[in-house]
Point group: C2
Chain length 322, copies 2
DNA sequence: TCAAAAGTGTTATCCTTACACCCATGT
DNA sequence: ACATGGGTGTAAGGATAACACTTTTGA
């Protein structure tokens, strides 16, 4: 560390794909230690922009070319890094969301030491498709209850008492579940010391103290925080930008489209309303082909109408409640 | 520049206040060269987090304590900086949005070399409150017309032909004006070489070539881009978070509240609908007091109901068209 | 013929938009 | 009295949420 106000830049990407009904996240260092997002340093002398550096870095680590890329957030407090602060320069970490189609063969990925993992393995409480996740009532809410009881009136960082925050984030008594608040929920669990990452930051690992089951798989450094940011942003973006199609094959059935949206959103949608929505938005057009189904009547195949981007300002699948 | 992958971090803030019906932006170096946003370097050894460093930096430069602070975006391509790249380390610039109440006396600010300036001085085409801004038909649309004609089919960065982008951004023939697309519009003008900043980046200043009037006042470095990002984000956020109240005095009339929203959004709203909206959202409560008006019937005074934050998940002024 | 999945039609409800009108004060 | 801005009621239209039902294939 020579220049006083000089830092290293770390670029990390949450690369998302969907396989059938499971959303997947690209991780490196399979098997060896905690999974990590593909990440690399930014060297301004080698790459003109942050995004170019990121794409290069992903390609090098995972042999994968991603399409859609979006910047999420820049994290400066690397108290959350596993690496102690006094070794090497301080690192500022920029998180990205990237979308890609599921690659046909996993072999190339595996060769590069990468793999796709279901994202709900890291966030089991975020999947409400089949039923309300058991881990909520079995572990999270009781533990949060104890945490709020410890200091009922104490205002935490955001100027809200613990109980109110827990209610809003996890939708207890009356408050609705908001699938976009992925980051808020993770941060709350972090502050309550209920995720393993919190222990690295000097917090007592309440999880160990109370011998709770581990809440979701852990990731290296602050990567699970970046993934949470990515999930929340993607869930929000689905509703006002046609980003789902980055995750679909060129032609697809409406059911497959719905399944993909549901996989990402973490909840079921009403079939008829979904179809009407897609039609009304004129987001797709039939290819004429149809798919001899996996059992049942064959389904029409559709493709994304790229023209909508030119026609309407903010096309997305604005699904609401049902 | 010693360590290969090491950069400097620049923190810049768009500090917004509203005075009556004019939204204001805090600038430093009044009079001496182009106005600039308050900005400073991030030194991880002096400040634990980016946000703390930013607040300290603003306070030092402008003698102002800001309330609400939100990170906007991290820009890495400082081809847009006025400083040549080979002097000192490469700079990565993190932009922030900050909201504050208009300070009672401008003297303290002036002493620190800072001042509030109306933000529409930098973006005259963004104010649709009185009428459609003249600069659109007088200068922008004709110039953009020539630019699209130069290469009608050429896909620009975002894979859309120039004409389609111009239509969507500036709402020509049929497309509606979207007040949130502030950044998209600025970037389009930049690419078309119609704002002075573009000349620094090696682009021919079409503005000079065509002897157009200057399109809005210029700022130092990429600060106008950060301001554009801030304006767009704030306009969007008004609709789903109760952020306006950060700009209001503790008690205010409903008309003053509407005026503030209109000032930020850059367009007029329907009075009755606005009031019903505020009431339905239960965002405010009467103080009991009333203001002996500036002519006309005295108006009830209201205050922000902080409790809504605990009650409902995403309270904001979800105004639509009118 | 039956299960499984595709696909359609219709209605009740809420929210948005827009209109037109009345009230209280200072000059 | 009248101009000025504050404040309200109510109806038309569209979007959303929910219902039940028909069609086409493979086993």
């Amino acid at each position: 560390m020579s220049d006083p106000a000089t830092v290293g830049i770390g670029l990390s990407a949450a690369v998302v794909a969907v396989d059938g009904d499971t959303p997947q996240i690209l991780v490196t260092r399979v098997g060896d230690g905690a999974p990590a997002l593909p990440a690399g340093p930014f060297d301004p002398r080698r790459h003109r922009t942050l995004e170019i550096a990121l794409r290069t870095s992903i390609a090098a680590q995972t042999a994968l070319d991603v399409g859609y890329v979006e910047q999420l957030y820049t994290f400066g407090d690397l108290g959350r890094s596993a690496t102690p602060d006094d070794v090497g320069p301080h690192i500022v970490s920029i998180g990205y969301l990237a979308l890609t189609r599921r690659p046909r063969d996993a072999a190339a990925l595996a060769g590069a030491g990468a793999a796709f993992r279901p994202w709900y393995a890291f966030f089991p409480w975020e999947d409400w498709r089949r039923r309300r996740p058991e881990v909520l009532d079995a572990a999270i809410l009781p533990a949060l209850g104890r945490w709020t009881a410890e200091a009922p009136e104490a205002a935490t960082g955001r100027d809200l008492p613990r109980l109110a925050r827990a209610r809003l984030c996890f939708g207890c008594d009356g408050a609705p579940w908001d699938e976009e608040k992925v980051l808020d929920r993770y941060e709350l669990l972090y502050e309550a010391g209920l995720v393993e990452e919190a222990a690295r930051d000097g917090r007592t690992a309440a999880a160990a103290r109370e011998s709770l089951p581990r809440l979701g798989e852990t990731m290296r450094d602050d990567h699970r925080r970046i993934l949470a940011t990515a999930m929340g942003r993607l869930r929000a973006k689905l509703k006002y930008r046609p980003v789902v199609f980055e995750l679909m094959k060129p032609s697809f059935t409406l059911t497959a489209l719905q399944q993909t949206v549901e996989a990402v959103a973490g909840r079921k949608l009403h079939k008829q309303n979904f179809r009407r929505l897609v039609e009304a938005a004129a987001l797709v057009e039939p290819t004429g082909e149809s798919e001899t189904a996996t059992g049942g009547r064959p389904a029409q195949l559709y493709r994304f109408r790229r023209e909508v981007i030119e026609e309407r300002p903010a096309p997305g699948l604005r699904f609401g409640r049902g």
